[in-house]
């Protein structure tokens, strides 16, 4: 005697498969564009320096080669000392990307560990960890970075990576802590204990999987921040100037007065590269946001169907022959959104 399925739900036999394979299709347009931009840059970062025509540091001694505009030999022109801007750009993209990804991974890891631990253990642990998090968060990072790096000997990217990782985790930890607190009180966590699961399994397999979209958004945010911070640090001459990062390029462009000399090909490409990477990451983040928060997504998706969403109305659901296949499946209610930087802090977490 099998139970009759209610007719109102989506085609059930395939719904399970759609939930997993259709994930990519379900991502909003913003996210796909952002991901595409990012993929392009990652590709450049991987193969870039190998296809660079010149060594970035190589200074062409010929007088004509100084501050040339873009031409056939030097695709993006040369610097004051005859170096090929294009090669520098390729090298810079790789360096900046690698640095940002490492910082993103390290800081995200720290955020998750601190945030989940504080929320799960509660009590005094929570107070102490939260205090620590908030203190690191409130101290202004650039001056601190400047002071740190000012003392450390300038050798390679490692100091920058370490210091940036150490200062960019707190915001993510706050957000993750708030989310974990909310999840911790849900019945399925208690049910997991009922089953007899150990605490670490409850955290790893029941709580954290519900926060994946939040953690992903946090990672993207941190990478974004790391790019900006490392470029700024290099630009003001505090970080290592021996390696060719995008910030270094801008530093030399500024100090050699590229602006006044009209050598736009020197400082526009690195700036554009940074901006495009940031845009790609930001769009990706918005996409992840919308995936987790159906209201944001449905408002923009509804527009595609010509529905105008007015405030106060319930979020529109498109009907019609094309609707079932175009509108994305509603994501589980457990996923929440992370706001892009600067953060909008949830109340109750103060």
């Amino acid at each position: 005697m099998s139970v009759v399925m209610p007719a109102a739900t989506e085609p059930t036999a395939t719904a399970g498969k759609v939930a997993r394979r259709g994930y990519w299709k379900r991502l909003p347009l913003k996210a796909k564009v952002g991901a595409a931009i990012l993929a392009f840059f990652i590709l450049v970062a991987i193969i870039g320096p190998s296809i660079a025509p010149f060594n970035p540091s190589y200074q062409n001694p010929s007088l004509n080669a100084s501050l040339e505009g873009p031409n056939a030999v030097h695709l993006l022109g040369t610097t004051q000392s005859g170096q090929d801007v294009f090669s520098q750009l390729l090298s810079g993209i790789r360096l900046t990307m690698v640095l940002a990804l490492i910082v993103g991974a390290a800081a995200s890891f720290l955020s998750v560990v601190v945030g989940v631990t504080a929320a799960f253990l509660g009590g005094l642990w929570d107070e102490v960890l939260s205090l620590f998090t908030n203190v690191v968060l409130v101290l202004p990072s650039l001056p601190l970075l400047v002071v740190f790096l000012g003392y450390l000997p300038q050798s390679g990217q490692t100091p920058t990576i370490v210091v940036l990782s150490a200062l960019s985790w707190p915001w993510g930890a706050r957000v993750i802590r708030a989310q974990t607190l909310a999840i911790r009180n849900r019945d399925f966590v208690a049910a997991s204990r009922e089953t007899g699961e150990r605490s670490w399994r409850v955290v790893m397999f029941d709580i954290v999987p519900n926060e994946i979209s939040l953690i992903a958004a946090n990672f993207v945010n941190t990478v974004l921040y790391a790019i900006g911070a490392s470029v700024a640090l290099a630009f003001i001459g505090v970080a290592d100037l021996n390696s060719w990062s995008l910030g270094t390029m801008l530093y030399w462009a500024q100090s050699q007065d590229a602006l006044h000399l009209g050598a736009w090909w020197w400082f526009v490409p690195p700036g554009l590269a940074v901006a495009l990477m940031g845009t790609g990451l930001g769009l990706l983040n918005f996409g992840i946001d919308e995936l987790g928060n159906p209201r944001l997504r449905d408002a923009s998706t509804a527009r595609r169907f010509g529905l105008r969403w007015r405030p106060g109305e319930p979020t529109p659901v498109a009907t019609g022959p094309r609707a079932g296949r175009r509108l994305p499946d509603r994501a589980p209610a457990a996923m929440r959104s992370a706001a892009p930087m600067p953060p909008a802090v949830e109340e109750g977490a103060r």
């Binding site: 205090l131 968060l137 101290l139 630009f235 845009t279 408002a299 979020t315 600067p342 909008a344 109340e347």
Partner: protein, 328 residues
């Protein structure tokens, strides 16, 4: 009231941490690095050399706790020691001259950016799904531009090519002298336009985006629907009901972003050669002027903490729930 006490305690802890970190960093450097630093100053005057040694912990003048205590006392009396490079100028003098420039420029521009961004965000959130959505990508792009980049472009266009506005500096020394004269103020204001514009443009996008997101969520709450059902004018619903609630997370975001604002300002001052403390900080770093560097760090940190505290107080004034909250 307990809320305020908690916040004060928190800021006290943060200030304390900043002070301690500031104190211990130079003393924590490995020995060979200390030598490297000392060797950069072959011609230091004895008084400055002594001060530097004390700061780096060389020669163990007194126990570390004694030094710490003295350090705390010095800070409280605004005694930041003497500058290394411009010996015997006192650090506090340099700071006092530079601080007003930064506060005026950064303070005013940030506030303008916040209000403008919030207003635009309210509009975008209310009328969601239209132009605001399409403008997301360009806004994202604007926000991702390294802020100094925009500064460079603006200088290029307005100062060099068009010659409408000065390309840098706080004021034109050949035309006017510092003082409360009208010519000075107008000259300073003229020099402040481009930096301020840069700060506003690069920050507006961020405020607008977060406000938009918060508004979207707020606007779908039942009480907004109820307000509309009551027949209230749209504008009233937007401002008094929706925005009033949405502003709360936005305020919190503002407090959190203050640190970033300061960072942006530092870079801005370099690009525009603006005589604020950001400019001085970088100069200090490149000339290894450690006392000045540390003092500026402290000043910036305390300023940010103070600003955070002020925003907290504003938050209490705006959110009635925070006032009645007696437990955490």
């Amino acid at each position: 009231m307990r809320y305020i006490a908690r916040r004060l305690f928190f800021y006290a802890v943060a200030a304390f941490v900043a002070l301690t970190v500031n104190f211990f960093i130079p003393r924590a450097i490995p020995g060979n690095a200390v030598e490297a630093i000392m060797s950069k100053y072959p011609n230091l005057q004895p008084g400055a050399e002594k001060a530097l040694e004390a700061m780096l912990g060389v020669g163990h003048p007194g126990s570390i706790w004694h030094q710490y205590w003295q350090y705390l006392g010095d800070v409280v009396h605004f005694n930041f020691g003497t500058d290394l490079i411009q010996f015997p100028a006192k650090v506090s003098t340099i700071l006092a001259a530079a601080l007003p420039w930064t506060i005026v420029l950064v303070g005013v521009s940030t506030v303008i950016a916040f209000f403008l961004g919030t207003a635009l965000g309210i509009l975008a959130g209310w009328r969601n799904g239209g132009w605001s959505d399409n403008s997301l990508a360009p806004l994202m792009f604007l926000q991702s531009l390294p802020y100094f980049f925009l500064a460079l472009v603006l200088i290029d266009v307005f100062a060099i090519k068009l010659g409408w506005l000065p390309a840098g500096q706080g004021f034109d020394g050949s035309v006017t002298t510092p003082g409360w004269s009208l010519s000075f103020i107008s000259n300073a204001a003229q020099h402040a336009i481009l930096p301020a514009l840069t700060i506003v443009v690069t920050n507006v996008a961020g405020w607008m985006l977060t406000m938009r997101n918060v508004m979207i969520t707020t606007v779908s709450e039942d009480y907004v629907l109820a307000a509309q059902a009551k027949g209230l004018a749209n504008r009233r619903v937007v401002i008094t009901y929706a925005a009033r609630n949405a502003i709360l997370p936005q305020l919190s975001g503002f407090a959190n972003a203050l640190g970033f604002v300061v960072s942006g300002a530092i870079v801005m001052e370099i690009v525009f050669a603006y005589p604020g403390i950001g400019q001085w900080l970088i100069n200090a770093v490149s000339s290894n002027d450690y006392p000045l560097m540390q003092a500026i760090f402290l000043v910036i940190t305390f300023a940010v903490l103070l600003a955070n505290l002020l925003v907290d107080l504003v938050y209490i004034a705006v959110d009635p729930r925070a006032r009645t909250r007696s437990t955490r």
